[in-house]
Symmetry: C2
Subunit: 443 residues, 2 copies
């Protein structure tokens, strides 16, 4: 499969023969050709309406007055994020056809920037683990990953150059890895979540995209218009992709994922690491750095604490859903609901305190390394659609509140595999700069 | 007017002749007698249904198995907080008849504790400044204060012993002062706001109540069942009202309100302060303590920073409302909407940073004083319903993220006036203990 087309790259030619309308036509042709197999969408914008909007954008670009660098960009929106013109089903029969009659803050910002919301993309049930129908464009027998399944698969299949996603465990980084696209989970609170059914304390809204430049542009256009979550400073940085910067030092993290990583994934990661080392980047590991070892020793806590924190924070909505109609919840969701009864605020408080302590330990690593480097998944997308795959490599970024991204720079068994970079909370722009540098050396 | 009846006091007699059904009948009689004048409710629960629920509660108490100490307690719910059985109008024609088809986390917790949600209470438009029809039970020509107007007036008139409210500027403390009831705005994040249309970073859900014990019990029953906002430890403390504790030292704050306080309010406050001093409580003031003076010098920033922070955090919903139908917004809300265009995330970030610095300075005062003492309002409720009154005394608690309460211990012109206590973030239970001590000495 060829890599998906960047809108930012295409827009350099707008005016010189090409246009947003041309770009849209390529997307619509890809949808026409493959959507019946890939099933990335829950709802699609009427193509006639999409063409109208692209034509308006084309006129703005021709007049030299686009609303923003993403004016005319077709964007898919994960189906937990509200849109005024389409229902928001949250991957649950409980919300089938639900309409909040509003755009989320991020969707409103994207529209104000001229983007074309081209459809709602498949999510797992309530952005948790129960999968939707989406298939991996690289191999239809495999999962695209989740929970932002449709946004990742849609970018990979060329349906749109960027899709909004959310991540509280591994829901952006993992499907990005499996589908071979860029996936960015920003710092906690960096992108305003109002109007999205996404309330957990370590959840963040982010993006799956065809290029680093596309990802940054979507995020900064949102943040400059509606900021981050209330009380957070919001994503900050330059008006266009931060220039690439070669990192001096990277901390290589094994995380609990390394033990289950495939031989192919280990080899691919080792090759990228060697290339960076050869280029003069210092790589700290648990063997060479006591600070890295100290962090590695804490990371096995990420998954159990994440489970408790997310579980307690879900007690209210889960009980509400259960009382409305428990038969419309998936079996694992009904299990979670039953687990609610054993949870209490005291244990939650202890989990928050431990998370805060581990976050502080992680933050201190910023004096030693420009970023952390690890795998985005333990191997390629597994065969079958019943599971969205293992989240062990993705959960640390969520748990740490740190910006995390998967770069589509590796493969295993001929299928995509992501190289993951983890940055430091609030320093999202710097992580993009480092990612540019890493990509140039390790590609 | 006689003070409203405490449910916790009445429940001591349940079993000995009295019952939740008797309590409810007194509430229904008060509603029958005065609701047409006071207008505290937007929607009321069918009295037959309320009686059914009270009878069930009576049976539980008689069996010695109440669901909680507030089993059978009639509670009013501010009309920005969702209830599955009643619409949530938010004081705006834009949401007339709106049904979210769910209970908020707090309402669900109250129902699980056996409380009877007796109706939705009047709020100003979107809990901001444009008033509803509610009148002050102590003088129908005067405002009850806002934005939790109906919950405050309803407690004062004996319609229910407790009502849920929210405060982002002065929306609990101010109406509590004007209506002569207890008003508690907990620490920021202490009470779970999920399912309430209340998203601003310094907003908190709290309670207006007939007694300190009723206020504590309502809050702790909520917090023990659904905790605080995601990511916050939530209100913590004993299963019943913390025992009264005489404070050693209180910091007397003038705040920017003192300059506009009435002569009567100053005199009443001076008398209470003298009584505390006579009882051996050390009172620090800006004249005697450099730390208090330093804080006083910062407090004039509370109102302008609060305006900017709340304004920026409202940009998304306000624009959304405006696009749906700006004609259904009040004139001041349309002005706010126009102000959105001049706001930006950079200034918001600076405001957050300044707020954090002032919060840190305030927190350091906890080594010197048990709590802060000030007025809850500059005088009694003003005549007229067009304004909900001045928020200068109430805004510091919101801005500081600190627990704040108004105690109905004073009067001016024969009308209620609240003594305000401000505690330290997270130490809500301790503030209740200090309030008990202050009340015992200053009553």
């Amino acid at each position: 499969m060829k890599p998906p087309s960047s809108y930012l790259a295409a827009s350099a030619q707008f005016g010189a023969g090409s246009s947003p309308s041309d770009f849209l036509e390529r997307c619509l042709a890809a949808i026409e050709a493959r959507e019946s197999d890939v099933k990335a969408f829950v709802v699609r914008l009427d193509p006639a309406l999409a063409r109208e909007r692209a034509a308006a954008s084309t006129r703005r670009w021709r007049a030299g007055a686009p609303l923003s660098p993403i004016d005319g960009m077709p964007i898919g929106v994960k189906d937990v994020i509200e849109t005024i013109d389409m229902p928001t089903g949250m991957g649950s029969p409980l919300y089938d056809g639900y309409r909040g009659e509003k755009d989320s803050a991020s969707v409103k910002a994207l529209r104000d920037a001229g983007a074309i919301i081209i459809g709602k993309t498949v999510t797992t049930e309530f952005a948790a683990s129960w999968p939707g129908p989406t298939r991996n464009p690289h191999d239809l027998a495999r999962t695209p990953g989740g929970s932002s399944s449709g946004s990742a698969a849609g970018v990979a299949a060329g349906f749109f150059p960027a899709g909004l996603g959310t991540q509280v465990v591994g829901s952006i980084v993992r499907p990005a890895s499996f589908c071979g696209v860029y996936g960015v989970k920003p710092s906690v609170g960096a992108i305003n979540r109002l109007g999205s059914h996404d309330y957990m304390s370590q959840s963040a809204q982010g993006v799956l995209a065809a290029s680093l430049a596309d990802a940054w542009q979507v995020l900064i256009e949102i943040a400059n218009r509606c900021g981050g979550d209330p009380g957070f400073p919001g994503l900050a940085g330059p008006a266009a992709l931060p220039p690439a910067r070669t990192p001096r030092t990277l901390a290589v993290l094994e995380t609990p994922g390394w033990k289950i990583a495939s031989a192919g994934a280990r080899t691919a990661f080792g090759e990228k690491a060697a290339r960076l080392r050869d280029a003069g980047v210092t790589l700290l590991t648990r063997a060479t750095s006591p600070q890295v070892e100290a962090l590695e020793a804490m990371l096995p806590r990420a998954m159990p604490l994440t489970r408790y924190i997310n579980g307690w924070e879900s007690v209210w909505p889960l009980r509400t859903y259960g009382e409305r109609d428990a038969s419309k919840l998936s079996p694992p969701m009904r299990e979670r609901l039953a687990e609610c009864d054993g949870m209490n605020v005291g244990e939650y408080r202890a989990a928050l305190a431990e998370r805060a302590a581990i976050r502080a330990a992680f933050a201190s690593l910023s004096t030693l390394a420009d970023a952390c480097l690890t795998l985005a998944a333990p191997g390629p997308a597994p065969v079958g659609l019943a599971s969205t795959g293992d989240p062990n490599f993705a959960v640390p970024g969520s748990f740490l509140g740190a910006p995390a991204m998967s770069l589509p720079l590796m493969s295993d068994e001929g299928l995509p595999l992501g190289l993951q970079l983890l940055g430091f909370e609030g320093a999202d722009a710097d992580l993009f700069a480092v990612a540019g540098g890493v990509q140039a050396l390790a590609r």
